[in-house]
């Protein structure tokens, strides 16, 4: 319901005409928007994301909550610590990847997620194991948030046989059937139809197979992808068939060296949602709590069978596109502005100011994560490289092909195949 209103009163971005031309409007980028510097979210200084519209309506009615301040907050202590731990894991892991890359332990294309952790933690920590996540090449942290062990991801990056894909996938192709991480795709936009298909499966299971299935799928992709044809094809089909999918745009304003404003006729990506018949929401992707609120609503919609949502998260990557990117085109001022909005610092401040956690508890978490990541590196280091025989493995699930049975004989030559005893 909230989203139905939010389509119209979405957020106070300036009218589109201000954002034409190459010079980014400071209001649009949010970097000097007064509310974006509000690091604490209290009821009085409710910031202007879509969820705020809803909350301000609710706040007027809730008068008895004043006596229990903790209940106003958006997370419980438990949830807060879980989210904080996930944020720290993402950051420390990626920093370690950079170190390992420069030491030659990791190679090829490595794309790091520093600065965008709020989006991953904000969304993925609300999912169940049965829900699916589909990502791009910037997928390490999505896999970690979904539950793939740090050891497995690090080994995969080192190309060892103990990696989550036995070293055969690599940085850009993280798959985990157990945790429903469906990749890891190098081509931008490639994951979106795959995610739409996973959502299609949920619907198919409910309607055709009559199973109890309310699994949702999250598709993560960037601002550059929002101009790609497959994206629009899937917005159309997801809305048409009311698929339980959330399209999460991680708008970090840059596609390698191509500024979003130079590449896009209408830079406000959230608007593309209503054009296809689904709600479009814009949220401050540097603030994990705001992301979490929007995510709750969107995931709830999808689970109830109300269809897809397009969520545009305004975020920023502190490092270059990949470790090979010299990152010369981005304005250092812009980087500094976003660094000041570091999601981890913001959330830490929130937790402490709202007495959800003490400095010591947070430090303990940071220490624990340091140990986890170092253990992951050690494990990966000591793991063996894949054996030579692994080269030809896993090309097919059934290398013989269906028509040949397990005993090597053709199924159609089994005299009993017509009696249904041929094993299918």
């Amino acid at each position: 319901m909230a989203f139905a209103r939010s389509i119209h009163h979405l957020h106070p971005l300036p009218p589109v005409s201000n954002t034409r031309g190459l010079k980014p409007s400071p209001l649009f980028l949010g970097s000097i928007r007064p509310d974006s510097h509000t690091h604490t979210i209290t009821r009085s200084s409710v910031s202007v994301s879509s969820s705020a519209q809803r909350r301000s309506a609710v706040a007027a009615n809730v008068s008895d909550v004043k006596t229990k301040p903790a209940a106003n907050l958006l997370v419980t202590k438990e949830e807060g610590l879980e989210v904080y731990e996930d944020l720290i894991l993402g950051r420390v892991f990626e920093d370690m990847c950079a170190q390992m890359y420069y030491r030659g332990k990791m190679f090829g294309f490595v794309h790091l997620y520093n600065g965008q952790e709020a989006v991953s933690s904000g969304f993925i920590k609300l999912l169940k194991q049965g829900d699916s996540v589909v990502s791009t090449y910037r997928d390490h942290v999505h896999a970690l948030s979904k539950g793939v062990p740090a050891r497995a991801v690090m080994s995969e990056l080192f190309g060892k046989t103990t990696g989550c894909c036995r070293g055969q996938g690599g940085s850009m192709h993280m798959f985990s059937a157990e945790h429903n991480v469906l990749g890891g795709f190098a081509f931008i936009g490639e994951g979106i139809p795959v995610a739409t298909g996973a959502a299609f499966t949920s619907k198919y299971k409910r309607e055709v197979l009559k199973e109890d299935c309310d699994d949702v799928t999250l598709a993560f992709f960037g601002d550059g992808t929002a101009n790609n044809g497959q994206f629009f094809e899937c917005l159309n089909m997801a809305a048409l068939w009311k698929l339980p999918i959330i399209f999460v745009v991680e708008n970090n304003l840059w596609a390698i060296g191509m500024s979003h404003l130079r590449a896009t006729s209408d830079p406000e990506i959230w608007k593309k949602g209503p054009a296809f018949g689904m709600p479009g929401v814009h949220v401050d992707g540097m603030d994990v709590l705001k992301v979490r609120e929007v995510a709750k609503e969107a995931i709830g919609r999808a689970r109830r069978g109300e269809g897809p949502t397009l969520v545009e998260c305004e975020t920023y990557r502190f490092r270059g596109h990949s470790l090979a990117d010299p990152d010369e085109l981005r304005d250092p001022d812009e980087k500094a502005r976003y660094a000041a909005r570091d999601p981890i610092t913001q959330f830490k401040k929130y937790l402490i100011e709202n007495k959800l956690a003490s400095e010591a508890e947070l430090k303990a978490i940071e220490k624990k994560i340091d140990e986890v990541v170092e253990d992951a590196v050690e494990f990966a280091d000591e793991s063996p490289a894949p054996s030579r025989s692994q080269l030809l493995e896993n090309v097919f699930a059934d290398p013989r092909g269906f028509g040949i049975g397990p005993d090597g004989r053709y199924r159609c030559e089994d005299p009993k195949f017509t009696e249904g005893t041929a094993q299918v």
């Binding site: 490639e190 139809p193 309607e207 097919f396 030559e413």
Partner: protein, 370 residues
């Protein structure tokens, strides 16, 4: 008529996993089919495909069909006729014109265990979705190290029809046949169509199923065994359609019919040709082809696709690698002309192999003409 050799597949030296290592120890090929009861029924390829889809969808609720015009229009070429009424719109899904989108949706649903049959109205349109066929379907089992397999079938008409112009006439056998992780099947007769499509749907890996529009209406005799709902043909095995001793002709899809007719003409001139229906481009049945060449010592490959890097090129290389000493003449390759397909009827006729071309090439291979 048929020499029936009942040999277990295991004896032919084919290792279950190595797709590349099969040529090392060749034994005489088995005839890929046993002696079925005399054919009592004729069936068009279209009906064969339709019945195969019908039976597979009835047997397994995870199988569904998705594509343009597959539902209410009853299929652009009527292959999916009647399925919408039987199975409903959730299982026979009409899509908007979004190849990349719906091919990807099929792949995503296959990741989670459904068994989609994605129809491309022609395989030319698969080029809009080729990223999904190759990158997210074919490569996923490998990239995920066996965690996620993709039991999907991409099917549709392939190759030229009649007068449909350059953008609707390309053959994609060579392109898809070069990708590890895909199985590529090319049925000819109704029995092929039924058996291979059923095997493809039940197979846990991505299968590209290349049909031929002009064959849809052709009738072939089918045995009672082929009509059984459990009938499947082995993937990766060629069929020797006609046994011979002077020259081997390999062909697939519509060209098998042409090769058989050419063989009849050649018979009158004293050349006894062996015609191999490839049935499967990937895995290519190198064992059967090589065994045949070792018997006849001459090879002519026929295909409708473009000549460079085509199927014939691969077969020629395989034979040269494994059976070079047995060749008595250079391998003759017949392929489509190296031009985008022209529209004019007489030019189009020149752009694709005709029966006379096959006869001529066989005679060249037999040193009976220049």
């Amino acid at each position: 008529m048929w020499g029936i050799l009942r040999q277990k597949v295991g004896d032919t030296g084919l290792s279950p996993q190595g797709l590349g290592n099969q040529m090392l120890r060749l034994r005489p090929a088995t005839s890929a089919v046993r002696d079925y009861s005399a054919a009592t029924k004729e069936m068009t390829v279209r009906d064969a495909l339709n019945s195969a889809l019908d039976e597979e969808m009835a047997a397994d609720p995870n199988v569904y069909v998705m594509g343009e015009e597959v539902g209410e229009y009853q299929g652009a070429y009527k292959i999916t006729k009647g399925l919408l009424d039987k199975f409903g719109p959730e299982r026979v899904v009409d899509t908007p014109i979004t190849e990349a989108g719906f091919a990807g949706i099929g792949v995503g649903s296959a990741y989670h265990g459904l068994r989609p049959v994605i129809e491309f109205m022609t395989f030319n349109f698969s080029m809009q979705a080729i990223d999904h066929v190759i990158n997210s379907a074919a490569k996923s089992n490998y990239m995920s190290a066996g965690q996620i397999n993709v039991p999907i079938v991409f099917r549709g008409p392939n190759g030229p029809a009649a007068g449909v112009g350059a953008q609707h006439s390309q053959c994609y056998g060579a392109w898809y046949g070069s990708v590890p992780g895909l199985k590529v099947l090319v049925p000819y007769s109704s029995e092929d169509a039924r058996g291979l499509l059923k095997a493809a749907i039940r197979d846990p890996d991505p299968v590209v199923f290349l049909e031929n529009e002009l064959l849809y209406g052709e009738s072939f005799p089918v045995s009672a065994e082929a009509l059984d709902s459990s009938f499947t043909l082995p993937i990766g095995k060629a069929k020797i359609e006609r046994e011979g001793k002077d020259v081997t002709i390999t062909a697939f899809s519509k060209m098998v019919g042409y090769a058989l007719k050419a063989a009849e003409i050649l018979e009158k001139e004293g050349i006894n040709a062996e015609v191999i229906n490839l049935r499967s481009i990937r895995p290519l049945d190198r064992a059967t082809i090589n065994a045949s060449v070792r018997k006849t010592n001459r090879l002519v490959t026929v295909e409708e696709g473009f000549p460079q890097h085509g199927i014939g090129a691969e077969i020629c290389a395989s034979v040269v690698e494994d059976s070079f000493g047995y060749l008595d003449a250079p391998v003759e390759r017949i392929a489509g002309a190296d031009v985008p397909t022209p529209y004019a009827a007489n030019l189009e006729r020149m752009a694709f192999p005709q029966i006379e071309d096959i006869v001529r090439a066989v005679k060249r291979a037999c040193y009976r003409s220049v």
